[in-house]
Amino acid sequence: MTTVAERPDVARAEGPRAARSRSDRMGIYLLLLPSLLPIVVLSVFPLLRGIYLGFTDARAGRHVEVSFTGLANYRELLGDELFWNSFKIGLLWAVGVTVLQFVLALGLALLLNQQLRFRGAARVLAVVPWAMPPVVVGILWKLVYHPDAGLLNELFHQVGADGMRTNWLGDFSTALPAVIIVGVWAGMPQTTVVLLAGLQGVPRELHEAAAVDGASTWHRFRNVTLPALAPVIVAITSLDFIWNFNSFGLVYVLTAGGPGGKTMLPMLFAYEEAFRYGNYGYAAALGNVMVVIIVALLAVYLRRRLREAN
């Protein structure tokens, strides 16, 4: 998304060759075709078909004879306790991960922006979790949380707090917080890098001027850094929220939605509905609802942030 912002010259790319012949135009389309065709066939079309499926009773095994059922799926969703459970958990997870990840990432970015020793090494380490396949991150944390051979329980034993030892991912009360920590660990590097890049764009002179005027560190952070960083913060937290709300692989590997549905994110619920029970139409309807919710939440959030920024 930053890439987009950096390309205001897209519109001016044409240059002196504004007047183009018909054969030129054909040539351009011919260059674009190999890319656009697969995108349309395997991304735009499926999306539209997915939206449509949400209004049908499509099921595994008899998808050919799909019939349009209008809002039936949505009425069923409204009364589906499992859906509401997954929706609630999805919100808890997405808000929890996004907020924690933002606070921690901002702190780390501020630190990495200082002249500290080991800064280079810290920057590299801060990015490593980002390079790992999500499934590997899941496995890694399975090892940390492992009830017998895990790092976390052993740490508690070492400090003499054996009472704290538990089956982190298997216990009803700890499962969701435990997966949220993993989400934060996995997502923090990217947010840190984006915020760090944003920090480097804050004009130094503003800070120096404020310092000369005797503003305290906190005041300079509150009145100089934060406002200058606001657009980056809005962009990265909204994207993080969407990505988290839609996430699947990490929690699938960690808990597969258990124990007792305590970590059943909406995507996991939809996956089960579609590929375990074969309810394609119902799962697609859930996808539609997710998109509407995301757009609505974002609209509210963005409007508030923009009003604050002005």
Partner: protein, 279 residues
């Protein structure tokens, strides 16, 4: 950023930095440690941070006794094919996008932003149905197609940025010298694009290598499964003794992305790619 902090301020900063490094680094150290532990140390009641008798047998086991070897080979094939195909298809389009402005091109680039917002579940069911209708469900070819389409929007963004950095004057000079369009592309543009092509190929390779959801749904035959899917299946099998090979396999699965990130470090830390590379 905050001027010169006091001595206590400095100390606090180092304490905070250490805290972050422990949070980020400890789980990684644990993974490495587990990968080098012999079976006996994996089942002992109080595991140690450093293996007492480190061994590489987990790595050997991961790729000989278990299905991980075959899965890695599957992943390698699928990722290489995705990378090659993505570059091949994106190259002409990114040139057109960078040099000529068309409504179609603008729409294609706009799709990049939108496609980041969709929950995959909305796409996976119709894609699954479409691939089945054309007989490509449960094949590597079908998976490669999905990966290409998935990597394309970002590949287009990245490559057209590289094209834009090639001075137009070079092409115009060649044109004045009587070179044809095709000759200009082959002799002037493509050689200068080499770093961009490498970066795009690496990006496509990594997104295919790391991908889990589509591979899980689209490939039903265990022999076809990619590395993330096979690794995930092994996690499901409880039993402490298997943790060693699992950790070793996980480390090996991370290698390609680590190489990619090392290669792209500067661009990533400048933030220009940060928003686009989805975790």
């Amino acid at each position: 950023m905050f001027g010169k902090p006091s001595r206590t301020g400095r100390t606090l900063q180092y304490v905070a930095l250490t805290g972050y490094l422990i949070f980020l680094g400890f789980p990684l150290v644990w993974l490495v440690s587990t990968a080098f532990k012999p079976p006996r140390e994996l089942v002992q009641l109080h595991p140690t941070l450093i293996p007492t008798n480190p061994t590489v047998q987990n790595f050997v086991q991961a790729f000989t006794e278990q299905e991980l070897g075959r899965a890695a080979l599957n992943s390698l094939q699928v990722s290489l094919a995705s990378a090659a195909l993505t570059v091949l298809v994106a190259l002409p389009a990114s040139y057109a996008l960078a040099r000529f402005r068309t409504k179609l091109g603008t729409a294609a680039l706009g799709w990049v932003l939108l496609s980041q917002l969709f929950p995959f579940v909305l796409l996976i069911i119709p894609i699954f149905l479409i691939l089945r209708e054309v007989g490509l469900a449960n094949t590597h070819a079908g998976l490669v197609l999905i990966y290409v389409v998935w990597a394309l929007p970002f590949a287009l963004w990245m490559l057209q940025g590289f094209v834009r950095n090639i001075p137009r004057e070079l092409e115009e000079a060649a044109s004045v010298d009587g070179a044809s369009r095709l000759q200009i592309l082959r002799r002037v543009v493509f050689p200068l694009l080499a770093p961009g092509i490498v970066a795009t190929a690496l990006f496509s390779f990594i997104s295919a290598w790391n991908e889990f959801f589509f591979a899980l749904v689209l490939l039903k035959t265990p022999e076809l499964a990619t590395l993330p899917v096979t690794l995930a299946r092994f996690v499901g099998i409880e039993g402490t003794a298997r943790l060693g090979p699992l950790a070793a396999g996980s480390l090996l699965a991370t290698l390609p992305s680590l190489i990619f990130f090392a290669f792209m470090q500067r661009r990533l830390s400048s933030g220009s790619l940060a928003g686009a590379v989805k975790g």
